[in-house]
Amino acid sequence: MYQTTHPFQLGPYILHHVLDSHEWHLPFLPVIHLPEFISLHGVMIIFCALILVVLFCGFYRHGQRVPTGITNLLEAFVQFIRDEITIPFLGQEDGVQFTPFFCTLFFFILGLNLLGQIPLFATATSNINVTFPLAFITFYLMTVMTLQKRGLKGFFRAIVPSGVPWPILILIVPLEFLGIFIKTVTLMLRLFANMLAGHIVILCLLGLIILFGLWALPALVLAIFFSLLEILIVFLQAYIFVLLSALFIGQMYHPDH
């Protein structure tokens, strides 16, 4: 175990901030003890969902010829997802059909990530139990929906590449089949690990200040820099999650392309 003379322990301090709990620390208020059936990350998820519902049902104005204000902001994202992510990977017909799903995924992940950047809120996406269901939706679309839409033949056409001599197929087909699971797992781990690692790095830098006092003040500049980088990563990870989901689903739906 650690044998330090200093009473402050950096490891437990970081873990306490990053891990899920049933307590919510707010400034100038007593600690909010959450009930047994919901944890802090659960509260964040519900909060994010409420924000999205209010944004898209309350503030989003349909049928504006020239979108203004919040409608303009949201519409830029929606159009970006439709034109840059879904239609290139899923084709014109499926792409338009799937745009609402990918928009939901994108805004949900983005909302959860951004909530984590606000001080005193928690990042729900840094919990692997949150990212697994998100990745599992992609897995469901990759397997069950492909079977339903394309049939067993279409499913095997996605797994078995055409124009390959049969001895190599013995090697490739199990790999492709395993690949479906590997893709899901990496999708899950990437979002989880990125959000967790960003927070741990920032907390490590802030912990230096507690450990070394005034001498570690330059670490504060680094922490601010990492916070700014984190805001970039928040958008990038939401984008990449949706992009890779579209890519994987597109590979199963249209194996010829």
């Binding site: 873990l15 990449i240 890779l244």
Partner: protein
């Protein structure tokens, strides 16, 4: 005199391994971005497409490094 325990040594090895994974990811991302910059410089009108592919590649490489970092954290904190 303080004796060197095996757990201290493990921490050292974890730190070295994490640094090595960061080196690998740095080389990988550097090459991807360099290639993307070359492509964009040659054909500026294809910027969007090149950026999309670049982000996919970057995500795949970066995911590996981040997974190494998380595993290192778990190994250190778990004791």
């Amino acid at each position: 005199m303080q004796t060197l325990e095996i757990s201290h040594l493990a921490n050292l090895f974890v730190a070295v391994g994490m640094g090595l994974s960061a080196v690998g990811a740095g080389i990988g991302i550097g090459q991807i971005v360099a290639a993307a910059l070359n492509g964009i410089a040659r054909q500026p009108e294809q910027t969007g497409k090149i950026q999309t592919v670049m982000f996919i590649g970057m995500a795949l490489v970066e995911g590996l490094a981040v997974m190494c970092a998380i595993l290192s954290f778990f190994i250190i904190f778990q004791k």
